[in-house]
């Protein structure tokens, strides 16, 4: 294994080793302050390691790692956010007694979520996916409030459901393969010709859509992300949802294309994009609005990948990663901004609000920001059909939602006393915010294949400006509806599902009754004989 391979390996192993070291008390006490260091190997790997580098762990681990372009883009952005949020966390949570526990969950989630971007074999993909999913539970319920608890339960139920779908899909994928733990690339190559193709793809989409939060499987997301402490919300909404994106990128056969499933993804994505906006606008808490914005943005990503799958365009993976990294950094910065704003008041408020506004509107596609770049980069692939317009309208929706967000945070911060956030929080935030503005520029030529100059042409600017104007207009309209705020509860349809639990309760109570009956001696004796007679008769007939 050469230096690049070692660096790749270290990006998974360092956080894992740090989590393991937390068994030792002295380390545990200081773990929180080291959170910012853990993702550094991954960051370095994303910057330095050339595309196509692979590494293989010998048995019994049998893990193979591979860095390709979408992986590298996502890894870099994610590592940056993890590092900055980690630094933010050490200042934000420093005095909490349960900080050590938080650090352990953090490191485990970090391991899983970063590892997913580079792992190349199917078993370890599942392992890391599970690690990221389950460890995130610890982050969500960290504050131990009733809200966090409810969010945690909904999250765990759906996360485990996703695990089950994916496990079945992976097993079906690997079933025809001679190797017990094949490389993802190999199984995906043979996927289009598999007899169980449609079942596998359906399960994959279900599993990853749950993770991404596509409607109607998004219900956990607006509950869970706001429930976590601020830095954790940032990484959950910024990075951990991308586990679903990287899953779709890795496992769907973009080279061969599957038009039907592509269209399914497009449809689900469009619905999600609008749904997120519509419900988000009714929310009154800043973090919840951001979470709904994440739902909406994941919908846009799904559309992007769906188009790629529909048209058998493998370039969609890079574009998807590009869009995703933009969202990672911006959304991370926005969540951190909510934390900063809460601690900032009076005179210091204005610059912070200004930067927050810039970041927020970037999601809507403000010209010259990463949002605009991402939208422009993806335009050619979407073509000029209805999908393109739908996406543009969704951009308007994003603008609307972000304006709503800004109005809420501005209102919340108005009453703050004269103060400013600690430097330990400001600097990480600024780093993320700055990189969200800079990194997409540096990647743009490679991804879009166009020069930066082309971005500044009026036609290109108009393409991104008109949805924003539309969004602004919509905002004016929406503000007039006074009943709107708070009209839809957080987590929307999960409330309906929770109403259905009484049915499940009754079913379970029924099962309990049956158990009491079956455990009666005479009934058990009778069932014994019945089973015996059944067995005997069947074997006799055989």
């Amino acid at each position: 294994m050469n230096a690049s391979g070692l660096l790749l390996a270290a990006s998974v192993l360092l956080p894992l080793a740090m989590a393991a070291c937390c068994i030792v008390r002295p380390f545990r006490a200081r773990a929180l302050s080291l959170l910012g260091v853990a993702p550094l190997p991954a960051l370095l790997a994303a910057l330095l390691v050339p595309d196509g580098t692979s590494a293989f762990f010998p048995p019994p681990f049998r893990m193979s790692l591979l860095l390709d372009r979408p992986g590298a883009i996502l890894l870099g952005g994610a590592a940056l956010l993890w590092s900055a949020a980690g630094a933010f966390a050490s200042s934000y949570m420093g005095r909490e007694p349960a900080a050590a526990r938080f650090a352990i969950w953090w490191l485990l989630t970090l391991t899983g979520s970063l590892g997913l971007f580079i792992v190349a074999d199917i078993a370890n993909f599942y392992l890391l996916f599970t690690l990221a999913s389950l460890a995130a539970y610890g982050l969500i319920v960290h504050e131990q409030s009733a809200r966090a608890h409810r969010a945690g339960i909904v999250y765990v139920v759906l996360a485990l459901l996703a695990e089950a779908f994916l496990l079945l899909a992976f097993v079906m994928l690997a079933a025809g393969h001679p190797d017990a733990n094949p490389a993802i690339r190999d199984v995906v190559a043979s996927l289009p010709s598999s007899p169980m193709r449609d079942g596998i793809v359906a399960l994959l989409i279900l599993g990853f859509a749950l993770k991404m939060g596509l409607v109607p499987l998004h219900v956990w997301l607006p509950l869970a992300h706001p429930a976590a402490p601020m830095p954790a919300s940032a990484v959950l909404s910024g990075v951990v949802v991308k586990a679903g994106v990287i899953g779709l990128i890795r496992f769907l056969p973009f080279e061969a294309g599957l038009p039907f499933w592509g269209n399914v993804l497009i449809a689900a994505g469009i619905v999600t994009a609008y749904f997120g906006v519509i419900v988000g606008v009714t929310q009154t808490r800043a973090k919840t609005i951001l979470a709904y914005s994440t739902v909406s943005q994941m919908g846009l990503l799904a559309v992007l990948l769906g188009v790629g799958l529909d048209t058998a365009d493998a370039g969609a993976t890079s574009l998807g990663a590009y869009y995703a990294v933009h969202h990672t950094l911006v959304k991370g910065a926005l969540f951190l901004a909510v934390g900063i704003l809460a601690a900032t008041g009076r005179a210091r408020l204005r610059p912070v609000l200004l930067l927050t506004g810039l970041l927020a509107l970037s999601l809507g596609g403000l010209p010259l920001t990463s949002g605009a770049l991402a939208k422009l980069a993806t335009k050619p692939m979407l073509g000029y059909g209805y999908v393109s317009y739908a996406m543009a309208l969704a951009g308007a929706g994003s603008t609307l939602l972000m304006l709503h967000f800004l109005s809420i945070v501005a209102r919340d911060a108005r009453e703050n006393p004269q103060s400013s956030a600690p430097t330990g929080q400001i600097i990480p935030w600024l780093v993320v915010a700055a990189s969200s503005l800079v990194i997409p520029w540096s990647l743009y030529p490679a991804i879009a294949g166009e020069s930066i100059a082309s971005l500044l042409q009026p036609a290109a600017l108009w393409k991104v400006i008109w949805p924003m104007l539309l969004g602004g207009l919509a905002m004016l309209l929406v503000r007039r509806i006074t009943k709107l705020p708070g009209s839809i509860p957080e987590g929307d349809i999960v409330v309906l599902a929770e109403a259905g639990t009484s049915v499940i309760q009754r079913l379970a109570a029924g099962i309990e009754q049956v158990d009491v009956l079956l455990r009666r001696w005479s009934v058990a004796g009778l069932s014994l004989i019945v089973v015996a007679v059944l067995l005997g008769a069947l074997m006799f007939r055989a």
Binding site: W521, S522, G525, L526, I529
Partner: protein
């Protein structure tokens, strides 16, 4: 098949089958634990008779029966006795502790505990 053509062995084998059925019935359908223990013994007796039928049918080489199943029955009888003894001891202990001789009424026992 007429009765006379049945050998002694088969007759007792059939008797064993019937005894096993009766024993099984007692075990399943009686709530009284002591009676169930008796039922186990009758079931066991029926089973041993099946072995006995096999043994008697296997008369050969100058022996009036196959000694292997006979030996198994002897072992089986002793094991059955130990089981009976253990069951009776448990039953007596249960009776000493609770004053009842039934397992099938957990609801009643809850009431008993709740009353005082």
């Amino acid at each position: 098949m007429s009765l006379a053509s049945l050998g002694t062995a088969t007759l007792f084998g059939l008797c064993g089958a019937a005894l096993a059925g009766i024993g099984l019935f007692i075990v399943i359908a009686h709530a009284g634990l002591l009676r169930r223990i008796v039922g186990f013994n009758i079931l066991g007796a029926g089973i041993f008779l099946v072995f006995g039928a096999a043994a008697r049918r296997g008369a050969a080489a100058g022996f009036s029966g196959d000694p292997v199943p006979q030996a198994m029955v002897i072992t089986g009888i002793v094991v059955a006795f130990s089981a009976t003894a253990l069951a009776v001891a448990l039953l007596q202990r249960l009776f000493d502790l609770t004053g009842r001789e039934s397992l099938d009424a957990p609801a009643a026992s809850d009431k008993q505990q709740a009353e005082p």
